[in-house]
Point group: D2
Chain length 282, copies 4
């Protein structure tokens, strides 16, 4: 039994749902999950579907899907073998809380993923990587070495067939060289409730503004700083009694949970991106 996950988007048109479900029935697929969304502002149709097959040939199915459906409706589409484990690279700097959290979940089987390696611009977190038996590459980044560092990063990513990257409080700006290779495949955690407090030191800005709620946001990295499609956000109540270091401590808990939830949504192929916004299927 093979199970596939199918993601489609295209201009909204009459008869799409019936056409897709029909196609699957004709190919002996049993649909076990279907969800769809229409963006009424832009007239865009989104669909996520899971289907089971007793016999399945991915190459043939894709060719067939393309010629029968995708071209007709001008679809953008992706098909995954649901059981395939993607390769996820983790980039970190010196903060350990998100790394501990991800590796703890990975260790307990909560994340269906391979982690081929961790990259860091510092050596600080190597002991954590070691204790979980994950290869750790220390690639320092300075103004002068940034390009060279990226070349090394890209080599490692390619060599290990990395499917997506998680920036687990990686305190460096990722340049277009990586973004172009991993469009909507680099997940960042920003320690504010975006679009409030873009950029550096958001907890200091939140403290200064006197907000009563702080937050964290996980988003795909795009060229524009902290402006990529939002995957997940969460917030926590604070008060005047909290000093900046209290906001930072509370924020750590938010960051961990929000980033982990974003990773899980991405792994389950529940996120579609269009026009810098996400559709998150349930």
């Amino acid at each position: 039994m093979t199970k596939i996950t199918l993601l489609i988007n295209c201009n909204d048109q009459s008869g799409i749902i019936a056409a897709v479900t029909n196609f699957l029935a004709n190919n002996n697929g049993n649909i076990v999950y279907i969800d769809q969304h229409v963006d009424r502002e832009q007239d865009i149709f989104f669909m996520r579907l899971e289907s089971e097959f007793e016999q399945f040939n991915m190459m043939a199915f894709k060719a067939n899907f393309k010629s029968v459906l995708a071209e007709k409706f001008k679809m953008k589409w992706r098909i995954y073998d649901t059981e395939d484990l993607p390769n996820m690279a983790i980039f970190v700097s010196k903060y350990d809380h998100c790394l501990y959290d991800i590796l703890g979940r990975y260790n307990s089987g909560e994340l269906h993923v391979n982690i081929p390696f961790i990259i860091s611009n510092h050596n600080t977190l190597k002991p954590i990587a070691d204790s979980f038996n994950i290869p750790f590459y220390h690639i320092p980044v300075t103004k002068d070495t940034k390009e060279e560092a990226e070349t090394k990063q890209l080599e490692l990513l390619k060599k290990h067939h990395v499917n997506f990257i998680v920036l687990a409080r990686y305190m460096q700006i990722v340049s277009n060289r990586l973004i172009d290779v991993y469009p909507n495949k680099i997940i960042n955690i920003h320690h504010s409730f975006l679009p409030a407090f873009v950029g550096a030191k958001p907890y200091h800005s939140a403290y200064k503004r006197g907000v009563k709620i702080i937050g964290a946001t996980s988003h795909y990295v795009t060229e524009a700083l902290d402006a990529g499609p939002i995957i997940e956000q969460d917030v926590e109540r604070v008060s005047h009694t909290h000093a900046i270091e209290d906001l930072i401590a509370k924020g750590r808990d938010l960051e961990k949970i929000v980033l982990a939830n974003a990773i899980k949504l991405h792994l389950k192929r529940k996120v579609m991106v269009f026009n810098n916004k996400t559709v998150i299927f349930s």
Copy 2:
């Protein structure tokens, strides 16, 4: 153009989704919304679908649906003309906050519903009903007159073709005579986070137990007290500084919002009930 909403549940079987979408395509329906859920514990399939038709005959469609699909898959099913406004009766006692809230939303066009009348066992809230121009029936309930009161209620409900009832802090236990006529069609608001604090005076119990969060729950009324299928819940943080009257005041805000949300879900036919639990479609 006619738009219908279709709700189905049955034992989970291969090919249901394709069969339903096919049926609609064959009947010239354009599916504009589809969502489904499978309860894996009990192997029950649930589906909600919206479809548009240029020409539509409800009687013929229902007959056709029944013979072609429903009998084959042993479905339970309901079909609504999406534009039909249901008739909603409101039962109240003396508390005014939920009534004000519902009528304010009704007045501003937020609720797509008719409100043929309000019933109360007290005359207290008649001025509010008057100010919104809704007929108000004062039907006192005592131990001795309970049966007689219910007979009057049932007559009014029947006469006005009431589709469902909202108990907006109606402080009386509704008996089987009404529940049998309105199964999963009587929406209650209970002022606690069920199943905690069933029964009377939940805020007093919450205060005594020293909980740090209070809640409200909207559910369909069944024979068992406060044990019907939960539609919606929400909570609010409290502390030792809150006296019972503070909990009651905070609770009023929870009750209003939770009840309004439950009514809106019911009106949009987004709620399905099975085995005393709800499926809430998005």
Copy 3:
């Protein structure tokens, strides 16, 4: 028995708490509530105190407090008779949800306040004011009449000894002429999670940015648009399934609750403002 509420702020210094509690003991006051906060960034001390007296003369007490304590510690201070009902003016435009909510709470005794009148630049909400028997003044505002309108507003505010103003979705920018007379005494509700989405149409901006959580913020009005000291904020989870009108509807519920909570905090004299931030005592 007279009960007073005392609010103090000054530079942080050794011995302030003891000095204040001593002063009250020497004046036969029984302290029933004391709370304090020190802003460690700026070394500012804040205190809120409630005290009961069997015999009390406000004028004499204030004079005494000033000469014995306030001058010594260079305090800013305010003293209220706790039972005094302040006069609150409400400004509205056309949206009714916040007005309904405030008047409903006022009617049920939840707000300890007088409401001498409602001002609006439209006549739309007059029937609501009438149904609650609150005087309603229609003062249209156009570019040309803005100054004249403000003069009328100021006359009414002065004549009725208004202590503070609530902008219950008043869609006009309040100018310095009012702000100067009511510093930190004009409460606004902004329909976003500030500092995100300052200015007009925040729900449209939130929709466009694809945020997963929306919010509302109540703050004191200052010269800078939507940048005054934040009193209260709350948020609600949203998803891609919500159209702009859904955000607006959900936002209405947030706005009502957040504004009501801010009003209640202000009425209980629990809010102190310093350097564009609030201390909110519990």
Copy 4:
């Protein structure tokens, strides 16, 4: 400079606050934090105070406090040197998420505490204890060996001067022998929103009841199962799409955060217990 934390409770009486602040002033203490609460139902006064002294003798101060204040007002009281690090023992079974979380926070300096050892009835989590260099004692518990096991536990607790115990998902019922030695000093995490779903398998019960929100509760252990004073609670929204294993996974995140928050409140001596409820100072 010595800093102390003082916790007091007694029957509410006139003049207590002034008496305490006076006492501290007379003893050359500079009060840097004061907060108080009166339980109006039971007329009980609670106070938390932090004071700094240039010269300080704990023994003398306590004797003085007792004779001058405590006996007069019939106070229950505790005084701590604020800088003292308490000794915290951790009890675990097989679940690792709370242990990882606590040790991660401990390691990063977030918890001001000593952890002399971890006790477990299984050997499963020894590698985690090892990786953090914390002694790990495997003390199996069966029906027959329960008393013997407790004797060993009590010996270790005594030998290491343990001040309080954290049950980090310790799947055994702690008997009175331990509770009597550690009254309101054993912190448990229960994986439900108490008082809903007392006892075993709360996520299964929550699933069966169809609740829309799940929670976790941290409380002090008393004789009555899951009925001790609540320190902290938090909740998370769920839906029909979540299977039991999803509730369990979401619950793990709640459990970690709620338990960590409870530990932090206890460490800062911000929790007072009276009549099976807590006062949590800010």
